[in-house]
Amino acid sequence: MTTSAKALSERASSTSTASGTGTTRRRRETRAAWLFLAPDAVGLLLFVALPMVFALALSLFDVDGFGNYRWIGLDNFHRMLSDPMLSRAIWVTVKYVVLFVPLSFVAGLGLALLVWNKFPGVAAVRTLFFLPNALSLVVIGLLWQFLLVDKQGVLTHAARPFGLGDVSFLGDPKWALATYVFISVWYSMGYQMLLFMAGLNDIEGEHLDAARVDGAGAWQRFRHVIWPLLGPTSFFVLITSLVASVTGLQAFDLVYVLTKGGPDNQTSTVVFYIYQQAFSFGHFGYAAAITVMLVAFLVAVTAVLFKATGGGRFHAR
């Protein structure tokens, strides 16, 4: 990378006469910028922002899914206040996020530290950790259902010595959410490991060597050198896993294939509830209202986290 850049700058100095004035350059730069931005800007506008605006509009209507619309103002938002099923779904999502985000964070960071330095077969080990993330959630749902079948599943058998042989991991309301979290962590820890490895790779070796010379132990090196320098990575991992666990595919696809929100609504997340309201009950307006609330909530949380963690480095030039 540096070599070609150098070559370029050499070439530049030899043809310096071709440069234009400052203002035309600025104009050219602006024009180029918008040209480069155009495809993605149009695409995101059309396929992400516009649907969101649509959702906002829908939230003010009673929509039955058959082309009938009735303006009801803020009634949908009002209704959310007294919907016990929504509170249940929010509670499920809260439990899921509170379990999943820290667990997958710790697992991802732990694995990254574990495989950061070389040992025999380290590449293979990294691959094995990441592999679950390469599978589709459809396959993951099927596979785990198969492994955890009551009495006959291979993992149910394996749990027998621990006195858990009669547990229905996906069918028992007491276990279902924990199982869902476990599968989610299994699925995403490899990905988070990768992100953390990228963060670790950015830490200059000298920092650590200096720390070693100072006689710092492994824990101290982690606490005082690695952890602070991982700040931006941690923030990124935190935000992405928060979004993924609240509205992402793992909050929907996985529930959809694993449990359909059951047993006894214990895995019915807010996103799954939105989907149910829209597609099973035909309350598209109400579903849109919950969507709006959810996205607004995420925006707020991100903003707060951004401020609180000084994650401002996101925007640093």
Partner: protein, 449 residues
């Protein structure tokens, strides 16, 4: 059963000024969009179903292909089938998404649980004018009720699928249970299931996954004790019958004699569960006869009617899907003609077509008397378990209810809570009843049956 709760509002009434303004303002785009984008080819009708033509050959797929092929050979307006896998069709969003965008199929399969939502939304075409004369009298009592609003038929049932208990003869022999000891009451059923439960096999199986299907298979137990959900615009769910029925299923879990999750396609799937040795008794529908014949031909099984509470009456739930026509489709009249021709023709070929669906492609009870007669002439329903279905089970049939989603969900939560979380049936029934009452306050639409 056919008691209108309140006068259904005119589906195509005058929209209020406010509603009109609203639809122009916010959803105008959607309304405008629904008119364009599609090829407005009125010579081709789309028919969405979960049978055929499927990627893998099956008798049901063959029936769909051949019936559609026959129609297409003799008519200018062609029918083009679209196969959507069972799981995606029943619990999925494909159909609903298409309807929301104004591009629903011309013809589609509809279950009783979805009927009122589609009907109240004005999505269903009135099929009455297209039915051959006298054919309504040919339908067995009750078969059309849940597809009828104000005396007009909005969907045509293709089958009736009653529920029974299937049992594994080998498991019974191993546990030294004689055929004469088949359980008649809930208590007998529970103690037999306990006896049949081993380390690797459950004694009994009822559905545990929440959904329309679970409610469908639970209703008979509610009805056996005289319970119900809605009557005269009020909830009747908070009853002894409901509490007992909830308690019965709860007991199968409390005694650990039924699994908390089924194998394969769920508790209706007998080859994956009963035939695979996962349980010794399983509640399922008449379709299982064909499934077992196809997928586990050597499996030795028997059936018996659903057990009843002391003093209860024998009732079973007759499910089944119906053909429906999209009122806002490209050519609704032609679509309705196709549906009437496919399922309600009174000529010989028509009856034979329906017979083949109900006895060759699948195993169902035919919803029409003439079809059943024709089937019997072909030696169907004259021996084995199908005879039991025809003689013993059919008289106890009650149609699958068409509760709106809100009612379904309230009952579903009650079932799930009591069955799996050990919730008190009394409390669960009361809570569900409150939710239903609350919903009925604002419900406007076809009568809830």
């Amino acid at each position: 059963m056919t008691r209108p709760v309140q006068p259904p509002p005119p589906t195509a009434g005058r929209p209020s000024r406010r509603a009109l303004l609203g639809s122009v303002a916010g959803a105008g785009a959607a309304a405008l969009l629904s008119g364009c984008g599609d090829d407005n080819n009125t010579d081709e009708l789309s028919f969405w179903n979960f049978y055929g033509p499927s990627p893998t050959p099956s008798p049901t797929s063959d029936w769909f292909t051949s019936v559609i092929g026959e129609w297409n050979r003799n008519n200018d307006v062609k029918v083009r089938p679209r196969f959507i896998a069972n799981a995606a069709y029943i619990n999925g969003n494909t159909l609903q998404t298409a309807f929301s965008a104004g591009s629903g199929p011309d013809i589609f399969l509809l279950s009783p649980g979805d009927f009122l939502r589609y009907q109240n939304g004005g999505a269903l075409l009135d099929l009455t004018p297209f039915l051959p004369k006298g054919v309504r009298a040919d339908y067995v009592p009750g078969a059309l009720d849940t597809r009828t609003v104000d005396g007009r038929v909005y969907a045509l049932p293709m089958e009736i699928e009653p529920l029974v208990i299937y049992y594994d003869r080998r498991a019974f022999e191993k546990a030294h249970v004689a055929e004469g000891d088949l359980p008649k009451t809930w208590d007998q059923f529970l103690s037999l299931a306990t006896k049949l439960t081993t380390k690797s096999r459950f004694g009994a199986m009822f559905e545990t996954l929440p959904g329309y299907y679970q409610n469908f298979v639970w209703y008979p137990f509610l009805w056996q004790g005289g319970g119900g959900a809605v009557k005269d615009g009020k909830s009747t769910f908070d009853s002894t019958a409901a509490r007992n029925a909830l308690g019965f299923w709860q007991e199968t879990q409390r005694r650990h004699i039924a699994p908390k999750s089924a194998l394969g396609g769920g508790s209706g799937d007998t080859p994956s569960n009963l035939a695979a040795g996962y349980c010794a008794m399983q509640q399922s529908g008449i379709w299982a006869v064909a499934d077992l014949k196809l997928q586990a031909p050597k499996f030795d099984y028997g059936i018996f009617p659903l057990p009843i509470p002391d003093g209860g009456k024998h009732v079973t739930d007759g499910g089944g899907w119906a053909f429906a026509v999209n009122a806002k489709g490209k050519n609704p009249e032609a679509a309705a003609e196709f549906v009437a021709w496919a399922l309600a023709s009174t000529d010989r070929a028509g009856i034979d077509r329906a017979r083949k669906w109900n006895t060759v492609a699948k195993t169902n009870l035919p919803p029409r008397a003439s079809v059943r007669k024709a089937a019997e002439a072909h030696d169907a329903f004259t021996s084995g378990v199908l005879e039991t279905f025809a003689t013993q089970i059919a008289p106890t049939l009650r149609s699958e209810p068409r509760y709106p989603p809100e009612v379904y969900k309230a009952i579903s939560d009650a079932i799930q809570g009591t069955q799996l979380s050990g919730k008190d049936p009394q409390q669960a029934a009361r809570e569900a009843s409150d939710v239903i009452d609350n919903f009925l306050l604002t419900y406007r639409g076809g009568s809830i049956l």
